[in-house]
């Protein structure tokens, strides 16, 4: 039962991510994407990466998805207004993606069968351990990422602001 849990959640991830790209209505796409991110959270919990599970839950399902939904509602795009690409282009896109998948899967096949994942240290993904690593080995990247977030905030405000002459 334990092992099959992973395969069940993996199936759900693939199923809902397929629904994301094939549903006609963009609002449905966003909702399916939220479900997909929830299955990713379950994957993180299964890998005992509890900090990442919570961060994924808050940042992706909370912040990013709300941003997507807001923009969709703001632009009033929740109708099926998207003109479809020509079927030939669609088939070409699917074939190209499948070629990528076959290439990656084929190169994985050449590896010998991997060992099963065994958690060597059960406390690896907990906040205590990750915090120690983050604030000792990765202190400089952590500070730089704060500058990244600040510049993103300034950029978003600048871009979304109306220009004074067309207001």
């Amino acid at each position: 039962m334990n092992i099959s849990l992973f395969y069940f959640v993996a199936f759900l991830s693939i199923f809902f991510s397929l629904l994301v790209i094939f549903s006609k209505n963009p609002v449905h796409s966003v909702l399916y994407l939220i479900v997909t991110f929830f299955t990713f959270t379950v994957h993180y919990i299964l890998l005992n990466a509890q900090f990442l599970a919570i961060v994924n839950f808050i940042v992706y399902m909370g912040a990013i998805m709300v941003l997507f939904l807001f923009v969709l509602m703001l632009l009033n795009l929740n109708k099926e207004s998207e003109p479809a690409k020509s079927p030939l282009l669609k088939i070409a896109g699917v074939v190209a993606g499948m070629c990528l998948l076959v290439t990656v899967a084929g190169s994985v096949k050449t590896l010998h069968t991997s060992n099963p994942i065994v958690l060597q240290s059960p406390t690896l993904g907990l906040v205590k351990n990750l915090g120690k690593v983050l604030f000792s080995d990765f202190l400089l990247p952590f500070e730089v990422s704060s500058i990244l977030l600040l510049s993103a905030m300034v950029g978003a405000v600048l871009l979304a602001k109306r220009e004074p002459n067309d207001a």
Binding site: Y60, L67, F68, I117
Partner: protein, 109 residues
């Protein structure tokens, strides 16, 4: 918590690689076949998440916490990217009244 750590034992790493590859390819297909800029953006998010899952799996496999810290940085980057990208999309919508990417062919020769 004990039974959670037991649950993962026995799943080969290859299956995680395959799952991530499948979801990454779904993201690539989404970028290629859709014309709505926001759906394309969501497909990019799918690709980022596939890579995140793979990094976490490798981190748990090799017992190295650096991989999970890296995932944390990727999430911060994704948040910044989404904020900027959606602002650009709003800007495009204001100028062209559409978010169809085929309208944006002015740089095409």
């Amino acid at each position: 918590m004990e039974h959670i750590t037991k649950a993962i034992q026995g799943i080969p790493l290859n299956h995680y690689i395959l799952l991530s590859a499948i979801i990454f390819s779904i993201g690539v297909i989404g970028v290629l076949i859709r014309r709505n800029a926001i759906v394309i953006f969501m497909s990019v998010e799918l690709m980022l998440n596939a890579v995140n899952l793979l990094l976490t799996a490798f981190s748990a496999y090799s017992g190295d916490a650096a991989g999970q810290v890296f995932v944390f940085f990727i999430m911060a980057l994704a948040a910044a990217e989404v904020a900027i990208g959606l602002a650009i999309i709003v800007m495009i919508y204001r100028n062209t009244n559409s978010i169809d990417i085929n309208v944006l062919n002015r740089l095409k020769w």
